[in-house]
């Protein structure tokens, strides 16, 4: 299969959906590639730096028959638009009794690891997950980047696409043609028996590498990629934990009230899964600080393979695999 980068996969998804449906329009202060050339200025709208009005405009245009894609660029910049997200986008359909659909896609980049300091290194998906009413995708591979973003654009609800910057250059196999990945279906990225590791975005890749390394020591790690955070395919995660009895969740957001917390809670509250749990659930997250600029501090703040491996060893030490 051909291989393309995560960034190219995202661009392809948008271009294909723009071709497929001329009600798809895009708004943002900048775009990758040259969509203007193919789709023209009516549909490709370079905007002033006014994220709040863009975010609300997408809802208005969505209710009037268009399918806007708003590119906030960094998730950082979406916070000036938070009212439109929290008080409008996430509530508008339910609050109005389902009178209208709001087929809007909000895109943004997330994550640290590039010396960009606190404001420009955020991964706050859990703040959006907490809101009832938004769907959320978090691709970790080029194939999913394309397939999930296409599903998001076709979805008739506001969907937020969190796109991890550190994955942009990652290259992987992506099927030709109309590759669509449904929302709400997790993927067992690597099968294993001793411990379940849920890895989000960039940290899926790190979890897989850690699993490779630990396989050499005879430790069998099952790695799961949730792919969408809302809806979250909790059953795939629970089934894995019922098998392995151990769970480690890895993400670069700080731990408090994070997606990792949520996954931990979903495991701990389910009777059958709780009953199968043989060790404490471990979260491997960022240190709870604004991501610092200086490389040694940034490295200390963010998770790495050593911390993932240590967490895996902790849960195995707590309840050793019978020989």
């Amino acid at each position: 299969m051909r291989e393309i980068s995560f960034a190219q996969a995202l661009d392809e998804a948008v271009a294909e959906e723009m071709r497929r449906d001329d009600r798809v329009i895009m708004l943002g202060t900048d775009f990758t590639g040259d969509p203007l050339k193919e789709f023209g200025p009516a549909r490709v709208r370079y905007t002033p730096i006014s994220e709040s009005v863009l975010t609300g405009m997408a809802l208005g245009a969505g209710a009037c028959g268009f399918r806007p894609i708003v590119n906030w660029r960094m998730v950082t910049f979406s916070f000036v638009a938070m009212d439109q997200i929290v008080n409008q986008a996430s509530k508008i359909r339910y609050m109005f009794g389902g009178q209208a659909d709001f087929p809007v896609t909000y895109r943004c980049t997330t994550g640290g690891g590039s010396g960009s300091a606190a404001q420009h290194s955020q991964s706050p998906y859990s703040m959006w997950m907490h809101l009832a009413g938004l769907k959320i995708i978090l691709p970790a591979t080029p194939a999913d980047a394309k397939g999930l973003l296409k599903s998001a654009i076709r979805d008739n609800n506001p969907v937020v696409s969190f796109e991890c910057s550190r994955l942009n250059a990652v290259v992987g196999a992506v099927p030709e043609g109309d590759h669509v990945v449904p929302l709400g279906v997790a993927r067992v990225a690597r099968a294993g028996t001793d411990v379940t590791v849920v890895g989000l975005a960039y940290y899926l890749q790190e979890a897989l590498k850690t699993a490779d390394e630990m396989a050499r020591d005879g430790i069998s790690v099952e790695v799961i990629d949730p792919r969408t955070l809302v809806p979250l395919d909790v059953e795939t995660i629970r089934a894995s934990v019922r098998k392995t009895g151990r769970l480690v969740v890895v993400d670069e957001a700080p731990p408090t009230c994070s997606a990792a917390s949520e996954i931990a809670a979903l495991i701990a509250e389910d009777a059958a899964t709780f009953g199968a749990l043989r060790a404490p659930i471990q979260r491997v997250c960022a240190v709870a600080v604004p991501v610092p600029y200086s490389p040694p501090l940034e490295n200390a703040a963010l998770p790495d393979r050593a911390r993932i491996a240590a967490a895996i060893r902790r849960v195995l030490d707590a309840a050793p695999v019978p020989a």
Partner: protein, 322 residues
């Protein structure tokens, strides 16, 4: 294009209906048949009616927390409005929204809004869609003098003007944002002063004169339909009642003589005397109209009361579109 007699009569009827709807809503809220907070539109009727008389059903509006008047003016059904206030399944939002979230997308009313200023971006988005559709439809955005202090006011005016969107910004300057007089919110109390900064036509009008509002709005709507972009229309008006009530109306904090002065400028009385002077309305026409309004409101209440409360089992309905 001045309105003809039947149009004028319909404007008057809607103004009376809006007033009586909200006077009734106050009583029903006091009796506990309505929940949460309500914000009566009484005193401002000329604005919603004057503007919406220039709109077709395919034109869109966005509204505010004080939205009942805009709903009625845009053609919403008062029975389904009342059912919504009563929290019933036949309400516009199936009981999920209440006073601050009434919407009727079928008549182009894209929703009241509990967030000051939040309707402006949504209206700009509707205007963008209408511009792309290219059928000369327009969007209108109602908002208060208080909303002018929010950043979204500025962002919406800026981008709409930049993109020549078919949009009319209608500021209902009722002299207060909650209990704060407009001079405690803005150094320049004429909101229209902002228009120039955006290269936009701005016009100020007596918001208690429905014909003046209609004329100015019509000009702005024509500009929007003709591809000349958005306008800022400031309507000076006054609310007769409190800002908001829950169980009971709160005490009045505004000067009594100010209230009295504005009540003398009653927009309904003004239209009535104007129509009478022009021989377009008789006292018995007026009485008949009042009776009809009361009948309609009684029916609306009966409709609402007959409608069941939502079934708690349906709590997840309407969450996500298929």
């Amino acid at each position: 294009m001045t309105p003809n007699r039947s149009e004028l009569i319909e404007m008057l009827r809607k103004m009376i209906l809006i007033r009586e709807f909200d006077e009734l809503a106050i009583r029903l809220r006091t009796e506990g048949k309505i929940y949460g907070a309500i914000h009566p539109y009484v005193g401002q009727e000329a604005i919603a009616v004057g503007v919406c008389a220039g709109l077709a059903s395919a034109d869109r509006i966005t509204s505010t927390h004080r939205g009942h008047g805009h709903c009625i003016a845009k053609g919403a059904d008062i029975r389904r409005m009342m059912a919504e206030l009563f929290g019933r399944v036949d309400g516009y939002c199936r009981g999920k929204g209440g006073s601050m979230h009434i919407a009727d997308f079928s008549v182009g009313m894209l929703g009241a809004n509990g967030i000051v200023g939040a309707g402006l971006p949504i209206a700009a988005g509707a205007a963008l869609a209408l511009q792309l559709d290219g059928k000369s439809n327009v969007a209108v955005c109602f908002f208060g003098d208080g909303a002018v202090a929010e950043g979204e006011f500025h962002e919406a005016l800026n981008i709409s003007s930049l993109w020549t969107l078919p949009l009319v910004f209608v500021c209902e300057n009722n002299q207060y944002g909650a209990n704060n007089p407009v001079a405690a919110q803005h150094r320049v109390t004429d909101v229209v002063a902002h228009a120039g900064g955006y290269g936009m036509v701005g016009q100020s009008v007596d918001g208690n004169d429905v014909l003046a509002v209609h004329r100015v709005a019509r000009e702005a709507l024509d500009r929007a339909r003709g591809g000349e972009g958005p306008s800022l229309v400031e309507c000076k008006t006054y609310r007769w009642h409190f800002h908001a009530m829950r169980q009971t109306p709160p005490p009045e904090t505004r000067p009594a003589d100010e209230i009295a002065e504005w009540k003398r400028r009653d927009p309904i009385a003004r239209l009535v005397s104007d129509l009478k002077a022009r021989g377009l309305l008789s006292e018995s026409d007026l009485e008949r109209m009042h009776r009809q309004v009361q009948t309609d409101l009684r029916e609306a209440v009966a409709f609402a009361e007959a409608s069941p409360f939502p079934d708690p089992k349906d709590i997840l309905a309407d969450m996500f579109a298929a």
